[in-house]
Assembly symmetry: C3
Homo-oligomer: 207 residues x 3
């Protein structure tokens, strides 16, 4: 028996939130935060992007305040990190896959929420990118490191590209689930290629 | 003649805002900020937590924009710090007490505002903790240091515990002022114990 | 043929947004961010102050989501910085002028928006100062440096002074455009004097 579209989206959301929480908790442990700090960083990383989006478009109270799945996924990611931190090396492949799925889903969802709020296509894609990427920015600011996303392999550009694909399909075929899934797959695919072949955005040479 | 409950709450609010402003101003002086920077850090530390809470639940315009007592207390804390900075060592006991009272009050008030906005108990306690603790997070981010609260003795856990006690009493006895005062006292008590006996949350050993 | 008041304001807004975007992009290049990071920092610097103001007073969705001129000016500033970065030394005079104009306009506009939202005069001037100055604070936090504005020559005080002049003229003469222009000119003038004569706010001596 196949899953319904809504169920597939929920599973991706749970996995993505979990992976974002793990990435926040891991960064907190590396910065030698205590238990509470680890939990907060897991939380902020997982819900930060969506919170910034909701605040900016006035979608208040922000989403996570009433989203039990998100909070449960964050707590699961937090506990998982505490249990498994020393052996995490072995799981990096899984975590990378989850993280890419989360980036894909959050970006597509953020773009969709922007369109539904009556924003222009460009602004909606920007909101999707913020949803996918700015949790990680908050994580790095709180951990006291320069935001990784501004210095890394193709991360935000994967989000932007996926957002564009999503809005194109939605516009021309009016098929929401196909657009969502294609957007997510494109983002995961770009992330895999970027990391596998170490592709990065150019930098300016500073004299 | 005894004070009314509302008056007691106002006095605690003024003392707590004052102490938070002093802690921000002190951090700014240590980071060698100029006069304006000292004022901004005093302000952000004192009103940051409540502002983040108000924004997230959509309680806009945020509280401090119309709260004369808060602004007056911040200005008093700012001026006090400038006058007394060199002799502050002697006053650390007072400032610690005020800070603990502020943490207590802000947490209890934030929890109450969350409940009044129709949030679940868990989310309301989280909002209370954010109200009490995130002004200090903003202070440390702006001062360019790692957030103290993520690395310190029991600070946020005092807030969480006080928030739980507050909601329990409110739920079972329906006595708002008793619940508020007990929540505040519990938080102050935990802070005193934690600092006196140097209790901290466990950390992960990083290899 | 003379320009209409609205046109003059739009030209100042475009120039100011452009200059703020250039300052963000430049900081990002110095922090060795990639292309996406440079764009985000240009964007955040230019729209950050107005976004914080809009969020706090509940003016949502925030302004830039529907402001094509702002977004176009940011993109122009971003591309300009990429093209001209190596020869930027020669343009510092122009960029300083644009930045001062932007500070002036954003402060005056933020103050006006505060007054229109029914805030008190003092709070409105604070909102104006936030509008003018906090994009730069976000820029420095994201770039991982201490906020320049808290350690620099008179920057925020220029904004505060201009905001006061603006509200005084508006109050006593009820002439919006005269008040706007005078406020902007005062801010630009103070910036020029401060930089020319290296005037700064006093600091506390830390033992």
């Amino acid at each position: 028996m196949l899953l319904e579209p809504e169920q597939i989206i929920l599973i991706i959301e749970a996995a993505g939130t979990f992976a974002f929480a793990v990435s926040g908790a891991t960064a907190a442990i590396r910065s030698r935060f205590d238990l509470f700090g680890i939990f907060v960083l897991a939380f902020v990383t997982a819900i930060g992007g969506g919170t910034i989006r909701d605040v900016m478009i006035g979608n208040l109270p922000v989403n996570w305040l009433t989203d039990t799945l998100a909070i449960t996924s964050v707590i699961a990611g937090f506990i998982f990190t505490l249990l498994i931190y020393r052996r995490m090396k072995k799981l990096e492949g899984w975590l990378f896959t989850f993280d890419a799925a989360g980036l894909g889903l959050f970006t597509v969802m953020g773009t969709q929420i922007g369109l539904e709020a009556g924003m222009s296509v460009g602004i909606s894609i920007a909101l999707g990118t913020i949803t996918g990427c700015f949790g990680g920015v908050l994580r790095d600011v709180l951990a006291g490191t320069k935001p990784l996303i501004f210095q890394e392999e193709i991360y935000a550009m994967a989000a932007v590209t996926g957002g564009i694909i999503f809005t194109l399909i939605l516009n021309f075929f009016d098929a929401l689930f196909v657009a969502q899934l294609t957007g997510i797959v494109v983002i995961v695919f770009i992330r895999v290629i970027a990391v596998r072949y170490k592709v990065g955005l150019p930098r300016m040479n500073v004299d």
